[in-house]
Assembly symmetry: C2
């Protein structure tokens, strides 16, 4: 089982250090500290374990060190920044694992860009050696890229020429969409195994500058100081500590404080339940800061994040997640009221930005999602987003019970999807006015009102409820999981596209395809034969 | 070998008739007239041969019958409009063929939408029986959809539940992006094998209206008359005849009037040469109309279109196309001058819209494209788009020879890509001013000027030329064809996304993946087992 929880004291592959408003994140991969057997992490190549630490470090900087204004990502290995994802790891992994690995690393890259965009921290890739494949992809997730000019160090995306697959972390899309490299140059660069060095790399826009070895550190320091000077926020912000999550699990259960998973393995579905706060309902930033990671909104979404990652990677046979909520809806709405009222406070901002990232992780999870609204549910405000993220929703229509959903201020824009729209906007693409009308109608919606407003899919009455849910689950889990993954990815992101949706929707799909093809993973495929004396042999038919 | 040339006299599956300003296109698929062995086209199901006729009919309406304002697409079979792509055909086709088939049918759907958007003809899907799968996808490519309400007829996308694959003709994307069906309803609809009938289909936005059998014809006629009344253009436009293309071919050559293909099979590449006009350079619409399909711009792009389809489907081993041009560049530019000056004339408009579609077909061709600019080349104006569409370009830098490229008015917007940008805009995403500067600098560009302006990739001198081209070809054709297909698709469409780029880039990639998976095409896969007594068995791991 893969564990997504870690902390700096436990890091094996990264050193995280702080100096005033500057954080330094140095890669020093321990080649034997792998997540699985059968490969060594040479040359700062990485597996999922290395990226889990990177994701943790970025998350901790945001919550534990809000004073940080610039982050330098560099390497402690001589002459190599990072050789990218480990090829032998890829060669020995299952298809499903490869795809989930690429998705998680993409989410980590997007988290860097989210921090830069919304919290104003600036990321510098200080490439003190060659950055190839995922190493260069990590660099282009940063705001600025500097390469040492030592006559040897280069940036490269060698996947196509060496491995017969695509750069898997959004590399191609970030080349032409983020750095806007001319597409013919991107074509040349992406087919050049050895990559490009200082002068031409700069001319083509692949890096921002190159400095000779003797001046490299000095140049980076100068740039960092310039950033801190112009970008220096209040250094009075004091961070909070992210403690380890408390998780209790058995074969078929996984319980956090406010989140629970119940696995129905034979039926290939899981219940994912999120509980409303019962107490600890602070109304001021000071109280929230004092509660720290015990504050419901932060703790619950950290738990939800871990639960999603767990389901993705450790429970591949589970094809459907029934999302449920329990508790007092007014308590959930009270949280939103506090978050909205204090939205300019750094911690409140970080918490809502994090909630938005977790909800995007949910959108991007390759499992069917049904939201189940019953008596005792609390799909309000931030938890109503779970319903909106679901592929469909069922709400009990029983006049003898209180069954309600509710909107809050946060549904109006605090949690944008990867495509830049709110989930309500996405829902009402054909009738944008319906989103407005739902907001305008303050208060709770019972099943009738919810259906009339277009907020839920089905509202079975209490006589049909059990059967309808059971049949819907049975039907869903009987369908081809591959077709469902493709269908859900296509239907969840209607409307505009962004770099993020391109990366997930387009690149991931291409990579899925290529990762399956004999030219990559067959006995004569390039990925299979990497590093062996044998050479790849291709079926040259173009599709 | 599959032949893409046809004409109404040869149609086996469609009846095309005209009545004033209304065309009627009636599907009546002959089940034994298949393109390959091993299946029967029952229930108006289709194979590529049926879609080649549909594409031809739409093309002919535009050129031969410009007076037409409304097109009714319907069926001559009782109780069935169209059952979609033939499952047994899909089950027995190679992966490459399936993907190319889906791409061509998508291009035909986009051609319908292009006609509606740019030439104002209105397409009505008159569903006098059930429309399922590709049958309903054809309907949603139309502007309006009417379904007979006979208690039986339905619209459906049964691919996911029945076949374990996706609707292959843009169905999912058109559902949520074009018709803007609410995504939870789209989810339900796309998993419902039997689809939805009149009332609910209308309520959910899947059709525009439903009429009882007894009133169906009358209602369609009334709607058509209303369209013609409000949409009636000049009926004085007289069409031109599209005659069969003259094609001479041997094992390794294919020659049209202005286009030639030379196949280098052992090296897996082809030279595709387009020749400039030598005479027939009309300057008025009357002269163009008189020349009709002999006019260079129309004939050459019809030839180019056929050449691309031929290379895609009949030459799968060819991975690289070297695009070359021959002739007087001033003659090509003279054509553009005439087209630009007479852009409001119906025939000139149809010709440039057609040229734009052919160029988009080139963008969407899964082969590497190199543009080779030598002495005697004529990459100017409309032919310069071939260079811009290429993945990279090589221009000979020889002071002793005249080697030139040139822009024309048409490069400024006459030929938008699928993403809505011109190819120059796409090229200069990072520096939009460069597109403007290239235009502002009137006249021809030699190699030095072309490189400085960013218009070409490489400008080798005459000493290196032969070696550089040879090595580039060798290197390109040695790479994994799958990785190249994914890479090129990712790099060619930077910048904004449209419904079209979503369909091709995202949906095609998902479909590619799903079409390869054992859950679809393995011995126990759903596609393999369709219609057999055995039932599909899935590996339920989600990726």
């Amino acid at each position: 089982m893969i564990n997504f929880q870690t902390s700096p004291e436990q890091y094996k592959h990264w050193k995280l250090s702080f100096d005033g408003q500057v954080a330094r994140l140095s890669m020093d991969v321990q080649e034997d500290e792998t997540l699985a057997e059968g490969y060594k992490l040479k040359l700062n190549s990485y597996d999922l374990g290395v990226d889990i630490e990177l994701a943790d470090a970025i998350q901790r900087i945001r919550f534990e060190h809000p004073e940080i204004r610039a982050i330098v990502i560099t390497s402690l290995k001589p002459r190599i920044f990072c050789a990218g994802a480990n090829i032998y790891m890829l060669g020995t992994s299952s298809h499903a694992f490869k795809v989930n690995f690429c998705k998680f690393t993409n989410e980590t890259r997007c988290a860097i860009e989210d921090d830069s965009r919304h919290s104003g921290r600036r990321y510098l890739a200080a490439l003190n050696g060659t950055a190839s494949g995922g190493g260069y992809e990590l660099a282009i997730a940063c705001d600025e890229i500097y390469l040492v000019d030592d006559g040897n160090s280069a940036v490269s995306l060698p996947e196509v020429p060496l491995l017969g697959v695509l750069p898997g972390t959004g590399g191609l899309t970030r080349l032409v969409d983020k750095r806007k490299i001319r597409r013919d140059r991107a074509d040349v660069f992406s087919t050049l195994a050895e990559g490009l060095k200082g002068k031409r790399a700069k001319e083509w826009g692949l890096i921002d500058d190159a400095f000779p070895t003797s001046k490299f550190q000095e140049a980076i320091d100068a740039r960092v100081q310039a950033i801190v000077k112009s970008n220096g926020g209040s250094s009075e912000q004091v961070g909070i500590k992210l403690s380890p999550l408390k998780i209790e699990s058995t074969d078929n259960t996984r319980d956090y404080n406010h989140v629970s998973i119940r696995l129905h393995r034979d039926e290939r579905y899981a219940d994912l339940t999120v509980r409303a706060p019962e107490f600890d309902l602070p109304t001021t930033p000071d109280e929230i800061q004092k509660l720290g990671d015990a504050y419901w909104a932060l703790r619950t979404f950290r738990e939800l994040d871990d639960a999603l990652l767990h389901l993705r990677v450790n429970e591949p046979e589970i094809g459907l997640v029934c999302v449920r909520t329990e508790g007092r809806i007014e308590n959930v709405l009270a949280v939103d009221k506090t978050l909205a009222a204090n939205r300019d406070h750094w911690l409140v901002r970080e918490i809502t930005l994090f909630m938005a990232r977790v909800l995007r992780r949910l959108d991007l999870t390759a499992k069917s999602l049904f939201a189940i609204v019953e008596a005792g549910s609390c799909f309000g405000g931030n938890l109503f987003e779970l319903l909106l993220a679901a592929d469909r929703s069922y709400m009990l229509n029983d006049p003898d019970e209180t069954v309600e959903i509710a909107l809050s201020e946060l549904n109006a824009g605090a949690f944008p999807m990867s495509n830049g729209l709110t989930r309500l906007q996405s829902r009402f693409l054909a009738e944008p006015r319906k989103a407005y009308e739902a907001f305008a109608r303050e208060g709770r919606f019972d099943a009738g009102a919810a259906e009339e407003s277009g907020l839920v899919t089905f509202v079975p009455d209490d006589l049909d409820w059990e059967d309808e849910i059971r049949l819907a689950i049975e039907e869903r889990t009987s369908l081809s999981p591959d077709a469902l993954t493709g269908m859900e990815a296509s239907l969840r992101f209607a409307g505009p596209e962004t770099m993020d949706t391109k990366i997930y929707g387009r690149l991931t799909a291409w990579q899925n395809w290529i990762f399956q093809r004999p030219n990559a993973v067959g006995p004569n495929g390039a990925l299979t034969n990497y590093g062996k004396p044998t050479k790849a042999q291709f079926d040259y038919q173009r599709t």
